[in-house]
Every structure is written in structure tokens, then in C-alpha cells.
């Protein structure tokens, strides 16, 4: 894709369009150094987009191999040892190098200053530094994954990852710490920018929900990630010096590891989903031509998810040997965190009520998000229910649950946002029919892949199994078939979006008739974002009321 972008911009120049078109951030300078040393938030977003696309398909390749292997009970293509490395690779890459950065570093980096009416983020150099940290981290961790491989799972549970480790756990951990610093830098930048760089008149209650959710996710970036960094430092210490911090054989406590790990990793789940919710909260009103239902509730639900998300981590440890009392406390808080998520779902549906609904590709992705996220959220209740979790924990039920949230939810939202802002980012329209087709293929492919896994989980099939008893085969084959469909669904956008860079129709400044400051500047935006600093006088979703629409048409 890196190449493609270069070609796209040079193509535009070659065609002589550059003179006809006003200068924009893509055409302003075109040397490689102007990309690699840029402090422009829009270009950093592109750098990030290329990087995470690479990691997405890298993690996806591992998933594809895993699903092929699970076609037969004894493992169709690889030995258990290789399978274990595959799922570790899949988990580590997808969590830290795709899902956690995903929307904030790409769409967020691009759109947040535009939505604020600002010229850039508060600390542009730190923004560039965060991309370099991310790339260094990605390189180190990838090196560990390929050079010897890791078979610890992305959770790195001790003592399997320390005393009994095979492969270079310390190297991988170091890469993840780097990626963590990158997250912290990004989150810090967003929080300060949202506080300090709002355009005149842009009060907190006039901010689009996307900003509220990016803000909430950033809180988690900044306050949860350091705990992971310290945990991985301790893990490296244990591995390096053979000292028991977490390994009971050497006098440590493995539950200490799990507590610190999930103190980060549970809120990290909300890092992944909150920006997705933000994107959907932009798209549903835009394609229903109606203001968001219950704006303040949706806004504060984002914040409360970020806060309550820190109170629930022990629900990953209900069968790990924690005290019964603490399990009960954390079960209660886990139910509590489901409330704001559910409120959001109802508000999105309320937004569609009496709207004028258009079925452009972003909307289809967003509707898919609501459907899949609701299923994922509801099955989350099963896992928060203590006695049910005792049966379902560490089975395919959990796998299906979090893929519904993170892939069905988050990745759908990412694609929704990518299509929605694609005209703004690239100045080109994506092919609409292909967009809708891909959205539908992804939805049905996803359902076919992961719905059978709920049943597998209830029947007891444990996660991370390279081989399995033969009675689970039918459901596994169904799931693998779905994965094939899903792979097609994910490759399609890669194809037609790249195509649109060259051949797509020129995008108008506001193709969707959407509100929001980002649509008031040109597509693609000029280097300085806005010719004059915009002044905000209205709320974020000032779409015409039905009465006004009716008055206009008659």
C-alpha cells in the first residue's frame, strides 16, 4: 500500500491535475523524507494506516492457517508445536499491533484535529515519535515471533512464559513495551489536544461523539499501559535472572502476574471498542440524516465505560484461584460495565427512528457493527455470570465472544470509518457497489465463522487446542468455511480501496452531507487543515428535523 500511495500522488502529478487542484497535504511535498520526517497529523495517520494494514494481514495469515489446521481433529497441516506458535503470533500481532492502535492512530490521528477545528495535535513531534516507537516495537516483536517463535499465547501467563519459556519472550516483551510507549504518547496527545485545541465555540457538549470516545480510549491508553510496561519489565527480570516473582517454584505468585496483566488488558478491550463506538455514533446520524438520540447519554456512557472498565479485571480469573469474595465483587462490577454499552445500542437504534436512512457502505458496516456488537455484548453477560463462567471460561465460547466484540465490532467499525472518511483522506470516492458487497460478505462470513464457536464452547471445546475430539469436527469445519468467506471479505477492500486511489471518482468536500468540521474543509484537506479557523455555533449533529425536510420538499 505504501507503494500504491506513492503512485497515487505521483499519478496525480503526472496527469497534470496538480495545477488544476489546490495544494493539499498529499501533494504539498512528495519526497520520501517529507513522509518519514513529517509532523503533519494527516501524514502520520497514513503512515500508521499502512503499518497496521500490514500487521492486520500478518495476523490474519496466522488465523487462516489455524482455521485450516482445525479442519480435521488431528490437525490438518501443522504439528501442535507450530499451531501454538501460530495462535501466539495471531494474538500478539492482532492485539498490540492492530486492535489497540487501529482506529485512534489512523482515523483518530487524521480526524481528531479536523473535528476540533485545530491545525494539528498539541505535540506533533511526539506524534511522529509514537509512530517510530510503534515500528521499532513491531519489528522487535515480529523478530521474536519469527526467530524461534513464541508459544505462550498473547497472555504470557507465568510460569509458562518465564521458567518454561521457549523462544525469545524478553525480546517480544521489549517490543510490546515500545508499542506501549507509543500508545501512551498517542493518548497523551489526544487528551491534551481535546482539552486545549478546540476551535472557538467548540464546547465539550458540542464535540462529536467520536471525540468523546477517543478521549475515553486515551484515558485508558495513558493510565493502563504503564502497568503493562512494569509487568513486562518484571517478567523479563524473572526470565533473565531466574528469580521467582511469578513462578511459584521459585517463590513467586502467578496470580500477581494475572492481576497486573488484566489490570491493563481488560481496559485495553475498551481501548479497542470505544473508538469503534465513536465511529458508529458519527455514521448512524450521518446516514439517518438525523441528530443522535440521547447525545449526552452516549457521551457520558463513553466516559463511564472507560472508568468502570478499570473495575472489572478479575473476571478473567474466576477459575484461576482467586478468593470467592473477590470473584463476587468483580462479577457485580462486570455487570455494571455492560449497562453503558447497552445504553449506547439503544440510542443508536433510537437515532434511526424517524430518520431518512441511506444504505451507503459505511452505514451497512455500521449496522453490521450494531448487530455483531450486541451479540458479543450479550454473551459477555454469560461470562460475567459466575457459575456460567466456570463452565465457559477458556473455551471457544470466550473466543467467539471476544471476536464478536473485537472483529465483528471493532473491525467492522474500522471499515465503516475508513469508507466514511476515505473521500476526505484521499480525495477519491471508493466504488460504492463493491463497498456494500464487501460489507455484506464480511457480515455473513463473520457469522459463519464465529457463531458455531459459541456452540463449540458450550459443548466444552477448550481454546488453544491444536487437536480435538472428533465430535467437534462438524462445527469446526463450518467455522473454517466461514473464515474462508471472511478472508475474501477482508481482501476485497484492500483491492478496491487501492484501485480507487488511481481510478476513483474525485470526491467532493462533503459527499455525505454530513455535519462536523472535518467536512467543511477541502478533500483532501490542505496542509494547514482550515483556511481560517472555524467558529462553532451549533451542536455536533445539526441535521435538519423531519419538519424542515418536509417543508423543503413540499
Amino acid at each position: 500500500m505504501s507503494h500504491a500511495l506513492g503512485f497515487a500522488t505521483s499519478g496525480i502529478k503526472a496527469a497534470g491535475i496538480r495545477n488544476a487542484e489546490p495544494d493539499n497535504y498529499l501533494t504539498h511535498e512528495t519526497s520520501l523524507a517529507s513522509w518519514l520526517l513529517t509532523t503533519d497529523h494527516k501524514r502520520i495517520a497514513i503512515l500508521y494506516a499502512i503499518s497496521i494494514t500490514f500487521f492486520f494481514f500478518m495476523g490474519g495469515a496466522a488465523a487462516a492457517l489455524m482455521r485450516i489446521n482445525l479442519l480435521t481433529p488431528d490437525g490438518a497441516i501443522v504439528a501442535p508445536e507450530t499451531y501454538n506458535r501460530l495462535f501466539t503470533w495471531h494474538g500478539v500481532v492482532m492485539v498490540w499491533f492492530f486492535l489497540v492502535p487501529s482506529i485512534p492512530v489512523t482515523l483518530g490521528n487524521f480526524i481528531v484535529p479536523l473535528m476540533l477545528g485545530a491545525r494539528d495535535l498539541a505535540f506533533p513531534k511526539i506524534n511522529l515519535m509514537s509512530w517510530y516507537l510503534f515500528m521499532i516495537g513491531g519489528t522487535l516483536t515480529t523478530a521474536a515471533l519469527f526467530w524461534g517463535g513464541l508459544d505462550t499465547g498473547w497472555t504470557f501467563y507465568t510460569p509458562l512464559s518465564s521458567t518454561y519459556a521457549k523462544g525469545h519472550v524478553v525480546l517480544a516483551a521489549f517490543g510490546i513495551i515500545m508499542a506501549g510507549f507509543s500508545s501512551i504518547a498517542t493518548g497523551l496527545n489526544f487528551i491534551i489536544s481535546i482539552h486545549r485545541l478546540r476551535a472557538p465555540g467548540m464546547t465539550f457538549y458540542r464535540m462529536p461523539i467520536f471525540l468523546w470516545s477517543i478521549y475515553s480510549a486515551s484515558v485508558i491508553y495513558v493510565l493502563a499501559t504503564p502497568v503493562l510496561a512494569m509487568l513486562l519489565i518484571l517478567l523479563s527480570f524473572e526470565t533473565f535472572f531466574r528469580v521467582g516473582i511469578f513462578d511459584p517454584a521459585l517463590g513467586g505468585d502467578p496470580l500477581l502476574f494475572q492481576h497486573l496483566f488484566w489490570f491493563y488488558s481488560h481496559p485495553a478491550v475498551y481501548i479497542m471498542i470505544l473508538p469503534g463506538m465513536g465511529v458508529v455514533s458519527e455514521i448512524i446520524p450521518a446516514f439517518s440524516r438525523k441528530q443522535l438520540f440521547g447525545y449526552k447519554f452516549v457521551a457520558w456512557c463513553s466516559v463511564s465505560i472507560a472508568v468502570i472498565g478499570f473495575f472489572v479485571w478479575t473476571h478473567h480469573m474466576f477459575v484461576a484461584g482467586v478468593s470467592v469474595f473477590s470473584a463476587i465483587v468483580f462479577s457485580l462490577t462486570s455487570f455494571a460495565v455492560a449497562v453503558p454499552s447497552a445504553i449506547k445500542v439503544f440510542n443508536w437504534i433510537g437515532t434511526m427512528h424517524k430518520g431518512y436512512i441511506h444504505f451507503d457502505a459505511p452505514m451497512i458496516y455500521a449496522l453490521g457493527f450494531i448487530a455483531l456488537f450486541t451479540i458479543g455484548g450479550l454473551t459477555g453477560l454469560w461470562l460475567a455470570t459466575l457459575a456460567a463462567d466456570v463452565h465457559l471460561h477458556d473455551t471457544y465460547f470466550v473466543i467467539a465472544h471476544f471476536h464478536f466484540i473485537m472483529v465483528g465490532g471493532m473491525v467492522s467499525a474500522y471499515f465503516a470509518g475508513l469508507h466514511y472518511w476515505w473521500p476526505k483522506i484521499t480525495g477519491r470516492m471508493y466504488p460504492e457497489m463493491w463497498g456494500r458487497l464487501a460489507a455484506l460478505i464480511i457480515f455473513f462470513g463473520f457469522m459463519l465463522t464465529f457463531a458455531p464457536q459459541f456452540m463449540l464452547g458450550y459443548y466444552g471445546m477448550p481454546r488453544r487446542y491444536a487437536t480435538y475430539p472428533p465430535e467437534f469436527q462438524v462445527l469446526n469445519v463450518l467455522s473454517s468455511a466461514g473464515a474462508g468467506v471472511l478472508a475474501v471479505g477482508y481482501l476485497l477492500p484492500l483491492g478496491y480501496l487501492v484501485w480507487s486511489l488511481f481510478r476513483g471518482a474525485r470526491a467532493p468536500d462533503n459527499p455525505w452531507g454530513a455535519t462536523g468540521l472535518e467536512w467543511q474543509t477541502r478533500s483532501p484537506p490542505p496542509v494547514e487543515n482550515f483556511a481560517t479557523t472555524p467558529v462553532v455555533t451549533k451542536g455536533p449533529y445539526a441535521y435538519p428535523t423531519p419538519a424542515a425536510v418536509a417543508a423543503r420538499t413540499t
Binding site: L223, F310, S323, V329
Partner: protein
């Protein structure tokens, strides 16, 4: 100029005095029940440095908000995190004879 030096010196004296209290309390061996109390002077010292050297009050509302957020989330980590260790029983405790 003199005001600046006097201000810094006063805070320094207060910090040194609190440190002496800590040190004294530790050397006096108050017993295991009191050892946690030694963190109290430390907390006051942290507060002093925050208020006088880092000038929390002079900084904007946002700085105060961030400082409070840090304290709140630290409390969540230590507080909620200690529920499990504090209520985990490695052995059945003999309730009848527990003092």
C-alpha cells in the same frame, strides 16, 4: 529574592522534619501493627512537594484534574487489587480459636 529562598527553605525544613519523624518511628520499632503508619509522613511529604514545589494549586484546573486522576486510578489498582489477596485463605482458619 529573599522571599523565594525563605519559601524553599521552609518547605525543606518541613520535609526534613517529616523525614526525621519517619526515621525515628522506624528506629523506635513500634511493632508490626504500626509499620504501616510510617507511610503517613511520607504521604504528607508527597503532598508538600506537590503543593509547594510542583505548584499544583497555581497550575490550571487541568493539571489538578490529572493529578487527582492519577491518585484515583492508583487507588483503584491498589484497592481493588488487594481484595483478592486479603480474602484469599490458603488454609482453613479455625474460627473458634481465632483471636
Amino acid at each position: 529574592m529573599r522571599r523565594i529562598v525563605r519559601g524553599a527553605a521552609l518547605v525543606w525544613l518541613a520535609l526534613a522534619a517529616l523525614m526525621a519523624v519517619e526515621l525515628g518511628g522506624s528506629l523506635a520499632r513500634l511493632g508490626p501493627g504500626f509499620s504501616g503508619l510510617l507511610l503517613l509522613p511520607a504521604a504528607i511529604m508527597v503532598l508538600l512537594v506537590g503543593l509547594c514545589f510542583m505548584r499544583v494549586r497555581e497550575s490550571g484546573g487541568l493539571a489538578r484534574f490529572f493529578a487527582l486522576a492519577a491518585i484515583f486510578w492508583l487507588t483503584v489498582l491498589l484497592g481493588l487489587g488487594s481484595i483478592d489477596p486479603l480474602t484469599r485463605h490458603d488454609y482453613s482458619v479455625d474460627v473458634t480459636q481465632y483471636p
